[in-house]
Amino acid sequence: MRRLLTVVAAMAALLVTAAPALACGGLIGPNGAVNLLRTTTFAGYHDGVEHHVTAFQFAGGGGAFGSIVPLPDVPTSVERGGDWTLQRLVRETDPPQFRLEAAAAAGDAEVLLQTRIDALDITILRGGGAEVGNWATEHGFRLPPDAPEVLDFYADRSPIFMAASFDADAARERGQQVGDGTPVHLTIPTDDPWVPLRILGLGKVAGELVQADLYLLTDARPNLLPQPADNGLTLDHSAAATDSLLADLRSDKGMEWIPASAWLSKVRIDTDAAQLKFDLAIDPTGAGTPSMVDAGFGGTPPPPTLPSGNLLILWLLVAVGIAIPTASGVAFAIRPR
């Protein structure tokens, strides 16, 4: 693998409000309701560095909400991300019919990193599913009933999670308007490129729909597992990335690493939550075979390895719609303490 840029983008279904939301899951409100809008995330790999981008978005309302995102490894930095990466990617594949400006629309887990970006508190955790679940519960996250099993599903492969809590009241006090996003950028050394998909169905029951758009930007045409087929995944776009796209992405904050050439794929996810029991494993070279383990199909996870000469960095821009009616993502109501 020389380069792999993975872009996960899921668009909010509403066209009238800005809505790129957290890439990985479903929003749980205080009453347990789940909204079914699309989500948005960007993740990428380049020269051994994985980049992952998504965003939280203030969509009004009050109180505190949060999300938990499985990560393939420990991030080396968490910072505010660029402002237009997600929107530009959406424009590349879905330009005319959407209003683009609107589309913007346990025991104890080990705390590895904590930071605050705008009204968003981010904690990087290491621990098993129960430990991370305990941490989340103790910090006021109201986890849905499938969370224990789903957290174990991820922790068995990578015990690294990002917990993000968003204080809507603080956002309002900061002057953030409905539609304003809070991008977050994580840098994560890892050599196991995979994109969490199962987490998208968290909190949803059988019959509820999971919708997301996943953009992959790689050096070469990638091999994917599972291959988009009759499994709720559809390959909507697969072509060399245009120079204008790469230039626009490169000009965003922290995106200097965007390579001179790359392959852009878009995978659309439309499936019953009960069917989404896997993740997307990626062979970015297009010459190898993606890992069954990384796709969540079982098997023994390989022992963790440190990045070699190829440094892997993951950027994660988090921009989740926080109000229940207009956002999506792996987000949970946070109970008052």
Binding site: A106, P144, D146, A147, G203
Partner: protein, 131 residues
């Protein structure tokens, strides 16, 4: 269904065995794991104190509410944040074990349910036959 029947029979036998020569209440352990009751079917006698040992292995809170259809309908729309005042309505915090002792006064077909949001829809339901 056959497995459920066997489990219920086994539970009855275990309760009966535990009761031999013992002055204390019968004891039944229900484990909660991945938001599911195990066992999900039980049989207990009426007129005898039965202690239910509720072991929550999950990192999230759960409830164990046992009763008839009318009780569950009330709790589907209830507003009590925690339970515990009534032995048939118990909150089991994450990672804890809670015991509650109930004496059923007559034979009945009941269910036990977690009424936290979406837990019942997720499948947190069991049946309790009082003989």
């Amino acid at each position: 269904m056959r497995q459920l029947t066997l489990l219920a029979a086994l539970a009855t036998l275990l309760i009966g065995a535990a009761g031999c020569g013992s002055a204390g209440p019968e004891r039944v352990t229900i484990t909660i794991h991945y938001s599911s009751f195990d066992p999900s079917a039980l049989t207990v006698p009426h007129g005898v104190p039965v202690t239910f040992v509720l072991v929550n292995q999950d990192p999230i809170d759960h409830e164990w509410m046992v009763g008839d259809a009318a009780l569950h309908e009330r709790h589907r729309h209830g507003t009590e944040p925690v339970h515990g005042a009534r032995p048939t309505e118990v909150t089991v915090p994450a990672g804890t074990t809670v015991e509650t002792t109930v004496t059923f006064d007559r034979a009945a077909e009941l269910t036990y349910v977690c009424h936290l949001p979406r837990h019942e829809a997720y499948g947190m339901v069991g049946t309790l036959t009082v003989t």
